[in-house]
Symmetry: C2
Subunit: 193 residues, 2 copies
DNA sequence: GATTTTCCATACGCCAGAGTATGGAAAATC
DNA sequence: GATTTTCCATACTCTGGCGTATGGAAAATC
């Protein structure tokens, strides 16, 4: 009944498989490209399967987004929450821009569809979570709560703006030293030494 | 032959009229909603007219985008280039975020479609133009060219991030004093006194 | 081993939007 | 005032994606 989670062996698909593939699709082509027939083709299967696992397209989207959000929240707490030194915590937050390809590509695609009914609440929660995370780091650095909140929102804006520029290819090559210099500059002006 | 540019009188439409309406549509519903039949309906007319003025949908989009870009470039030079004091020039740049509804709504919609083939080059040129504008302001403030460029890119990122947050309704009400405090904070950290 | 349940293939109907074809009215031109 | 151009309406076709209906094979259950 339950599928064997082996590779190579063609086994029956689960809803989780569809959600994973959906996120891949979103990361690559954006949420508007998340169509069930093309998705099925990518998985070497037909629609028939999909509509057995999900009631409709939005159901898949909803589930996939929730899965992504959980992953992101967990990510924030483990990878970043563990760092004690607040300055390091902030820097690591910005460094993460270049890590975790899939997760960030999905996020970038979601930002591009911020007005979508199913996407908006996700982005809202994620933003609140992340900004608060950064804000506490600033508080640990001695900022008063209000200032910390402002600075955090601003830092997060820089992050969002960076993603935007990345999508328009206005960002210097990610490996170049020019990019490194830029990152150094923004860190220097955003987190006080 | 040429239509009378009077109001009230139902006159024949021009390509310019279509472009204007297209920009309104883009500002309101995004570029993916720029469909010719709905657009025609909004103008109280039918497709037949459209395909007389344009060869296809992309032709309209292209023209509308070019028109918008020109307006934006002109806007940058007149409204902002006139300000002598560099600090004021920068501040005014950020203030403009809340001005010029239509122009900015269009820009916001374009950012959401940054990966579109026709949109990307526009955003690229506009970004380069705006960032350079800000960079020279920073240079006038005494920044060395490299630092000025970095700071400008960062400032522009803040602007883009703000637009993003605005699209996800994560921005405090535009009229509230909380918002004013936030703006003051970002200005304070972005432009040195 | 017969039956039920799980999972998927195939074949449909439906709809929105793109683009085409054609005709016709009104205005401009002669 | 006859003719040509402009500009638009109407009526199609075509495509892609959504969702449904139904049948069938394989696996699980009895």
């Amino acid at each position: 009944m339950h599928s064997i989670t082996n590779k190579k062996v063609r086994t029956t698909l689960t809803a989780k498989d569809w959600e994973r593939e959906a996120l891949e699709m979103i990361a690559g082509k954006g949420i508007s490209a998340l169509a069930v027939e093309p998705l099925a083709k990518r998985m070497g299967i037909t629609k028939g399967s999909f509509y057995w696992h999900f009631t409709n397209r939005d159901a898949l989207l909803k589930q996939a987004l929730l899965r992504w959000e959980k992953h992101d929240a967990r990510n924030l707490n483990t990878a970043l929450g563990a760092i004690a030194e607040p300055r390091e915590r902030l820097i690591s937050f910005f460094r993460r821009i270049t890590q975790e390809r899939l997760t960030h590509d999905v996020f970038s695609s979601l930002c591009a569809a911020a007005d979508h009914v199913l996407v908006e609440p996700i982005l809202e929660r994620v933003a609140k979570r992340r900004i608060n995370h950064v804000a506490t780091a600033y508080e640990d650095l001695g900022f008063e709560p209000q200032k910390a909140q402002h600075r955090a929102r601003m830092a997060y804006s820089v992050y969002l703006g960076f993603l935007q520029l990345q999508r328009q290819q206005q960002t210097p090559s990610i490996t170049s030293q020019e990019f490194e210099a830029y990152v150094e500059h923004t860190i220097a002006t955003l987190v006080p030494s």
